[in-house]
């Protein structure tokens, strides 16, 4: 299976609000740690090694700053 970069999240605004609410009140360090845990748990859910490699590559390319 290839990395899906088409819109795939129902209620995107609701998801985004929930994501930021989860960070509400955290220090910067705590937010970084929270994000690391979130990435790892989502990566496990995806489970497909090829997709994870593709995602890492896509994000590196996407970082144009």
């Amino acid at each position: 299976m290839a990395l899906n970069t088409a819109p795939n999240i129902p209620d995107p605004d609701g998801f985004y609000a929930e994501l930021l609410d989860a960070h509400d009140g955290l220090s910067d360090d705590d937010s970084i740690a929270f994000n690391a845990r979130l990435i790892l748990i989502l990566a496990n859910h995806i489970g497909d090694r090829a997709v994870l490699t593709e995602a890492l590559a896509a994000v590196s390319k996407g970082d144009t700053r």
């Binding site: 999240i9 995107p12 605004d13 985004y16 930021l20 390319k61 144009t64």
Partner: protein, 537 residues
């Protein structure tokens, strides 16, 4: 307090004239008095007046103030204005746009097309300066008055105190000819975000304050920008933390800059400082003139209830949102649409007073949805913490290359009317496989019908719509005469009202919202649903 103007007028629309009430020995009592002559107040007077209900409107000025202010009027607002008979001049004057572009720094992140669904009389949005919107409403009031609508607009009539009784309200008013007093069976507060009426009654107005200032500049220029909405996050020209460019009629452009929280308002409003920001954005070769500038802050808040006995609040007086998503004036007009028929039925004795509690329930539901949407847009545009800023910019970076991130970019969502899901005037859906967009509580979507459109035939009174099902031409029940409308199951109406169902019968409220729907005509079910829809069960 002297009766001085607090702002300059764009148009004088209801100049002061002395009313016979002012010489009365006993205060004259009116069925309905509206406080505030902005778009929501005028629309309220128009809605009631067209029903033949005498209405007096009081405003402390003689017309509409300067400044474009609300500039985006949504489809639903235009449909409501059409029902009042003034949608077309708004559409003729307004600017229609479909294409939006989103920039981050010096890069275009993506562009979107609203891709309006075909088969509607009105577009998704028009841009129109608020003074024009108000003027078209008042023009329609004048026309209705000439045809006998009992509407009385009183400019330079400032309400100083109100005394709220169980079944009426007493108002003390100041005019250029001195004070006088009237009474009202019902008082409708449409007196804006800083509502004097709300303060006189000591009512709450709570919510969230957003710590940011926005500079608005309306300019005219010769430059050849396309008719599109352009939004910049962290623009390279550094005129603000975000910027918006939007076209209005008369060659006027609306430009908004996000200035941040800690600013010197007087300093920022100096012409040379406004021009410095505009020059950086537009480049050195663009000639422009400043038409109007203003700095605004905003809050997202609402009153706990919109009805206090015989006093009912509508528009900004009842709820305030951030401007992102155009949910201020648009939701105020939906308040009027919801209130007008209910007040009409209560005043003529057809429905119990309890029907007005459904106004409070339904429009608070609408206000909460608008506050939620506009707060989310605001949180995206003005991130409040380092981590929300990081996520915001990550979304923008990804959106340039990956489609999935684009729905997360939130520079304001299209203003759409709410669905009164699960509220007491609805009858449970008896057409469960019918389209979700026309479920009970939903506003009826327009569709072509004959030489015109479906919505031309709905609204103003209760309608029984048969789609591919014959319904009686009239049906009398609960003191009302239902108007039957049988249309063929074809074209867009089929898709929007039937889905896979072979036929359907819809009970449609005077505000064009669906009250109930069934696969076939069942007179007993229609009678029961009508009773529910007017709070009579």
């Amino acid at each position: 307090m002297p009766l001085d103007d607090r702002y300059q007028l764009a148009f004088t629309l209801y100049p002061y004239t002395r009313s016979t009430d002012q010489g009365a020995s006993v205060p004259v009592r009116h069925p309905v008095v509206v406080m505030g002559g902005g778009p929501v107040g005028i629309a309220t007077a128009l809605d009631l007046g067209l029903q033949g209900i005498p209405v007096v409107l009081l405003d402390d000025h003689e017309g509409v103030g300067q400044g474009s202010r609300a500039i985006c009027f949504a489809k639903r607002t235009l449909e409501i204005a059409h029902r009042y008979g003034c949608g077309q001049p708004m559409l003729d004057k307004g600017v229609v746009w479909n294409l939006g572009k989103v920039f981050h720094d010096d890069r275009q992140v993506f562009e979107f097309n609203l891709l309006p669904e075909q088969g509607h009389r009105y577009p998704a949005f028009i841009n129109l300066q608020q003074p024009y919107f108000e003027r078209f409403l008042v023009d329609r009031v004048r026309e209705a008055q000439a045809q006998g609508a009992p509407i009385d607009l009183r400019g330079k009539n400032r309400v100083d105190t109100v005394e709220v009784k169980d079944d009426h309200v007493i108002l003390d008013i100041t005019t250029p000819d001195g004070p006088y007093r009237i009474a009202a069976d019902w008082l409708i507060g449409c007196d804006g975000a800083s509502s004097p009426l709300r303060k006189m009654m000591g009512l709450d107005f709570e919510g969230r304050v957003f710590e940011d200032n926005f500079l608005i500049a309306d300019i005219t220029m010769k430059a050849d920008f396309p008719t599109e909405r352009w939004f910049w996050f962290e623009p390279h020209f550094k005129s603000g933390d975000s910027a918006l460019l939007h076209k209005q009629p008369d060659g006027v452009w609306r430009i908004d800059f996000q200035l941040g929280w800690d600013i010197d308002r007087t300093e920022e409003l100096k012409e040379e400082n406004v021009r410095r920001r505009l020059d950086a954005m537009l480049g050195p070769d663009v000639d422009y003139e400043l038409v109007w500038t203003s700095i605004y802050r905003f809050q997202c808040r609402r009153m706990k209830t919109f009805r206090k006995g015989r006093v009912i609040f509508a528009g900004d007086a009842a709820h305030q949102v951030s401007p992102f998503g155009a949910r201020g004036a648009n939701s105020g007009i939906q308040d009027v649409d919801n209130l007008g028929w209910k007040l009409g039925l209560v005043l003529n004795g057809t429905a119990p007073e309890a029907l007005l509690d459904s106004y409070d329930l339904e429009r608070r539901h609408g206000a909460d949805e608008n506050i939620l949407n506009s707060s989310r847009s605001t949180d995206f545009i003005t991130p409040k913490s380092r981590i929300s800023h990081v996520f915001r910019n990550a979304v923008l970076d990804l959106a340039e290359h990956h489609a999935f991130a684009r729905p997360l970019v939130n520079s304001g969502r299209l203003s759409v009317p709410c669905v009164y899901d699960g509220l007491p005037l609805n009858t449970p859906d008896a057409l469960p496989y019918g389209p979700s967009r026309t479920r009970p509580g939903a506003p009826c979507p327009d569709a072509p019908l004959g030489q015109g459109f479906l919505l031309d035939h709905l609204g103003g009174d209760f309608v029984l719509l048969g789609v591919g099902v014959d319904v009686p031409d009239t049906l009398s029940a609960h003191g009302l005469v239902l108007r039957g409308l049988s249309v063929p199951a074809a074209g867009d109406i089929r898709g929007r009202y039937l889905g896979d169902a072979p036929g359907a019968v819809y009970l449609i409220r005077p505000d064009q919202h669906v009250a109930a729907r069934w696969p076939t005509f069942d007179e007993a079910a229609v009678r029961a649903a009508l009773a529910t829809a007017i709070a009579k069960d």
